[in-house]
Amino acid sequence: MTRTPSDLTALSLREAGAGIASRAVSSRELVEASLARIAATDGKLGAFLAVAADRARAAATAADARAAKGDRRSEFDGVPVAVKDLFATKGLVTTAGSRILEGFVPPYDAAAVERLEAAGAVIVGKLNMDEFAMGSSNENSGYKPCANPWDLARTPGGSSGGSAASVAARQVHGSLGTDTGGSIRLPASFCGVVGVKPTYGRVSRWGVVAFASSLDQVGPLARTVEDAALLLGRIAGHDPRDLTSSTRPVEDYLASLEAGARGLRVGIPREWLRGGLDAGVEKIVRGALAAYERLGAKLVEISLPHSKYGIAAYYLIAPAEASSNLARYDGVRFGLRADAKGLREMYAETREKGFGAEPKRRIMLGTYALSSGYYDAYYLRAQKVRTLIRRDFDEAFRSCDVVAGPVAPTVAFQLGERTQDPLQMYLADVFTITCNLAALPGLSLPCGLHPESGMPVGLQLVGRPFDEATLLRAARALERETPPLPAPPLRAGGAR
């Protein structure tokens, strides 16, 4: 049978890896198919900020040599993937989506990149994102917008927009993103892929450009739950270079993946299915919950009374941490430097020219919240509310094993629709943000297409700390019951 490149790009990460293992396909063929797909589609999609073709070809050749010797490093050794441009990649430009880091070439790889490459994954490029991971639509990229492969007039979600769009558009078989307030789960939901935000501390943040250090977490995006489990199993684990990285052993996520949902207690927060939720989204989410019941899970009503304060607490804590983390971009050691006579002028001018509107807005907000006289009223109060949000989940997990609900109140919105109103943009994260504040693992699973717009809708699952295994098992149980999504049309206006 003749094999076309589109057959190859449609393979899941596991299928592609199995093909290399059985020598039915080579890593080099998969990488060429991926590069050709990127060349053919990325002009209209905009998922990549950099493509590293030579580096990918060299890595593929090495993977094929290993396959010939039967010396495979992982189930996805030799399979093309890509990473958000927030991850430092040695010798490969890393911008964090910001002009202030234009041309920055890191002298080292991020820990998650090291681990992916140690497992043999072939990194074909760096993915588009909101500047410094600040945004929910990828429109804050300092370079170019990224479109949604289901409808090119819509946003892919953010901040890991390129990470979701590239996987959905079959440019790569999996990707890495980061999630500070929903930045993996929201684009995963908008683009119809699986996205996992692990427990805080499960994956090393070393080498990831810092945004809000108490909330940032690295995670995989993939087309199947199994692929996400494979990727997570490889990037998770202790790293002495990140002092918040946990020493707990990493579970074998595949071992329990097919265990089903029988007996699982699925908590439904009554606050999440109230007003403000799009009717079509609600219908699909309720359909997914009904499917759990058919599978033998028990639906339990729970309450997260403080979740409505999540956005407010987040938009004090995250900007406060960001204003401190972004102080390093001062034109001295790396990145952009503006010409100026004195040092102070150089700082101010460099930061004026290098930062886009959103980082500036958050630096201002964070500086204000931390400034003398306002610290107690804003930052400290937000940290206390964060405790209340975490307690809500602690209480909920006494009566359920996972929490389930929508990822976002709507499907992907139109490009340009919310760029003038930062607060409206922030509200896209209303359901995802509490999971970061409580430092819990969360997952977005595609569970259908919206009845009117034809856009993908994701179901969000949130688990106990370090219980990614239950989260993935629950997601897999529903995935088996859900018809797989067709390939996205890559057209403006979507499928209809």
């Binding site: 930061r351 201002m364 937000a382």
Partner: protein, 97 residues
């Protein structure tokens, strides 16, 4: 609560940001709207609540390494991205007039 232009300028100076007059006006408006939204946190009585000062799960503790010398970046690697350098130093504009 509404932020005055003067307040916006004071914060920008603290953050080493230079803003155009238009940005000052936009930020005064947008930051005021965001601050009005976060005002809702005042509804809660948090007097007896401990702040969440770290994000580690219960039973987790930061893992500190031994205080020993470890390999680090070589000076030429650390300086490779410097906008301006002199020998093994980062060069900056004049600090003292």
């Amino acid at each position: 609560m509404a932020l005055s232009l003067e307040e916006v300028r004071r914060i920008a100076a603290l953050a080493r940001l230079r803003l155009s007059p238009e940005e000052e006006r936009t930020f005064a408006e947008q930051l005021s709207a965001i601050l009005a939204h976060v005002e809702q946190l005042r509804e809660l009585d948090v007097s007896a609540v401990e702040p969440m000062t770290h994000a580690l799960a219960a039973g987790e503790a930061p893992v500190l390494r031994a205080d020993e010398r470890q390999p680090s970046l070589r000076p030429d690697e650390a300086l490779a991205n410097a906008p301006a350098r002199e020998g093994t130093f980062f060069e900056v504009p004049r600090i003292i007039e």
